[in-house]
């Protein structure tokens, strides 16, 4: 296939991406782009990044054959890329470390972040403690309720958690509030954005930091099974764990890339968080991409059992991969994700994050239609300890 070299100099992946922010932030984004350009070309930067990933995060994360569950499904073999085993329990730490190292290079002593499920907030609070930075995390007031263990975790790590009461009180509003903080404190503050979205250069640098996931898998799978998987699948909220898995596989022919969005009550009900499956092109949070919006261009509220997928937009590179056909995107419902959550607990002894359970649900649905010699690699983006209150609540249990 053609050489894939995106984004272009203006930050576009095809027609998606770009820089759509208030003038105040333009200089900061230009500075970030320039500084990342230098860091990217600096072997010492990557040396420290990989040292941290190995000794602090515990990388490489293993790939694991979910043998019992695969047998029960009676089709393709399901393998899991175990990002749940990372320090702090999700793929988010890879990106948080990369950006914190950039912040340190740029002399910024204060970092801010938005968070949905709390995983990116925890990762940011963690690296802020690790590097001695002041940390403020914005979190929708709804999510503060849904993910209370992570709120306390962030506080233990020394971060200030600010509940956001505006709009729908979820991830998109937390992002708005983080942007407002950044505009106000742009001279002192580094914004550690939590997903492969936002204005250029964020989608690019987040992708570069999380790509360690796919880079490792590309080496590990041939070691484990003698070849690459037939399908690679990941859940898609803003798109970071998915692009981290997909990006290294883009040039690998014969590997199908599948992104799974949050179908909520079902994509046909309108109550979901699946902009690639059922949105249209728009501009939000500094970039152009598929977006859930009404006929007047207002962003509509999303619905998902999983706080980390409850976002109306999606990173621009995924929109481009959809348009180009290199990746395909679909959605599973809350009910399907919850069933996969329980199956993964029962059959594999792994409590998956509700976000990752969406990717698992797709694999469990499709595996039986495939041959036993075929392989699906699922990005198990995080562990589900943070979700036990939510899952218990859905079954009428209060912990």
């Amino acid at each position: 296939m053609d050489r894939y070299d995106l984004p272009d100099a203006r930050g576009y992946f095809g027609e998606h991406g770009g820089v759509f922010v208030a003038e105040t932030l333009m200089a900061a984004l230009d500075e970030l782009k320039a500084e990342y350009g230098k860091a990217k070309a600096d072997p010492l930067f990557w040396q420290e990044f990989h040292y941290e990933l190995k000794h602090y995060v515990g990388r490489p994360s293993p790939v694991y054959h979910a043998r019992r569950w695969s047998e029960m499904l009676g089709g393709a073999q399901i393998w899991l890329k175990r990002e749940d085993l990372n320090h702090t329990g999700a793929h988010k730490i890879n990106n948080a470390i990369g950006q914190a190292l950039l912040a340190r290079r740029m002399g910024k002593k204060r970092v801010i972040a938005e968070t949905g499920a709390g995983q990116h907030g925890v990762a940011t609070a963690t690296v802020a403690a690790r590097y001695g930075m002041e940390c403020v995390v914005y979190m929708g007031a709804e999510d503060v309720k849904r993910q209370s263990p992570n709120v306390y975790r962030m506080k233990l790590l020394g971060a200030k958690v600010v509940p956001v009461e505006s709009g729908s009180k979820t991830l998109k509003d937390a992002l708005n509030e983080a942007m407002r903080d950044w505009v106000t404190n742009v001279d002192s503050t580094f914004y550690i954005l939590g997903t492969a979205a936002g204005p250029h250069p964020y989608p690019m640098l987040v992708r570069d930091f999380v790509s360690v996931i796919g880079e490792e898998a590309k080496v590990q799978m041939p070691e484990a099974i003698g070849r690459q998987p037939d399908v690679v699948v990941a859940c898609v909220g803003g798109g970071s764990n998915a692009i981290g898995m997909f990006y290294p596989y883009i040039p690998v022919e014969g590997v199908r890339l599948v992104g799974v969005e949050a179908g909520g009550d079902g994509v046909d009900t309108g109550r979901h968080a699946a902009p690639l499956s059922a949105g249209s092109v728009g501009v939000l949070h500094g970039f152009r991409s598929y977006l859930m919006q009404d006929e007047n261009g207002q962003v509509i509220e999303t619905h998902s059992v999983s706080a980390g997928l409850d976002y109306p937009g999606v990173g621009p590179e995924h929109s481009h991969l959809k348009d180009s056909g290199r990746a395909e995107y679909t959605a599973v419902t809350d009910t399907e994700a919850l069933a996969a959550f329980h199956d993964c607990c029962h059959h594999e002894g792994i409590i998956p994050a509700l976000e990752s359970s969406h990717a698992l649900a797709w694999a469990a649905k499709v595996a039986p239609t495939m041959g036993k010699d075929q392989v699906i690699l699922v990005n198990l983006s995080g562990r589900g300890d943070k979700d036990i209150n939510t899952v218990a609540g859905l079954t009428g249990i209060t912990l």
Partner: protein, 262 residues
């Protein structure tokens, strides 16, 4: 000549007052009356906010105004209808729409520019669309005789000031502080110095806004700027008033600001 240029020409050096309110706040049926009240109080140009679900550059006051308007389902088409209604009784006061890109993109740039011109809009400021991203929209606006208004911030580099100078028409909007609308950390001397420096590149009139809350600040800044833009303070007045008293209170407040900058 556009209404905006005519307005500044007629002022011949006197300072313009540009009040901002959000269309549809507190209720769509009140907006046209409030616009007339602004003019009665002495407004030279009106900035009319187009409500958006995710007003990233706005502080809590204008966020709430946006939410109130959206609760009544106010769309961009509704805002254009309000301007058309205003124009039935006022053919001279320029109206500039201020908002975010997505509703305009959804409407379609060319269709929007044509409909806005027909409704009597004079300028458009999309906060999250700086000149490098505004090509298609700016061309559509200029094609219909509308002025694309751009922001300049304290962080804007000289290169970018020059770029903005090439694209803007009507006036430019200097953001007085690093922050959101309604913030309270404005440094008068620094702003005045910056505006003076901008004149090297900018020949258009320069308005200044964000964080101007009282007559005192308005007066101090009017020695450096060509126009004073006041938003959150007025929206607060609407929020505190009843639907019956809002117009009168706005008029009194605008008159006191106008008197201060004379």
């Amino acid at each position: 000549m556009s209404r905006i240029s005519a307005c500044f020409e007629q002022l011949s050096g006197a300072k313009a007052l540009i009040p901002f309110i959000t269309a549809g706040d507190p209720h769509p049926s009140r907006t046209v009356a409030l616009m007339h009240a602004l003019v009665d109080g002495g407004a030279d140009i009106i900035e009319l906010g187009v409500p958006f679900s995710d007003p990233m550059a706005d502080g809590p006051v204008i966020q709430r105004a946006s939410e109130r308007a959206l609760a009544h389902g106010v769309s961009l088409a509704d805002v254009l209808a309000m301007v058309a209604e205003f124009r039935k009784d006022n053919g001279t006061t320029p109206v500039v729409l201020m908002g975010y890109l997505n509703p305009v993109m959804r409407y379609g740039f060319a269709r929007f520019a044509a409909d806005a011109a027909r409704a009597g809009v004079d300028g458009v400021l999309t906060v999250d669309c700086p000149p490098h991203a505004a090509g298609e929209l700016a061309a559509a606006l200029k094609g219909e005789g509308l002025d694309p208004v751009f922001l300049i911030a304290p962080t804007t580099t000289e290169d970018r000031v020059a770029e903005i100078a090439r694209h803007a028409t009507g006036y430019v909007y200097y953001v007085s502080l690093n922050g959101v609308t309604g913030a309270g950390n404005l440094d008068i001397d620094a702003v005045a110095g910056k505006i003076a420096a901008l004149r090297q590149h900018i020949t258009l009139p320069i308005g200044v806004g964000f964080g101007i809350r009282d007559a005192e600040t308005a007066r101090a800044l009017s020695t450096a700027a060509d126009a004073i833009i006041v938003g959150s303070r007025l929206v607060q007045e609407i929020e505190a008033a009843t639907q019956e008293t809002a117009a009168e209170q706005l008029k009194i407040l605008v008159a006191s600001l106008k008197a201060a900058i004379r």
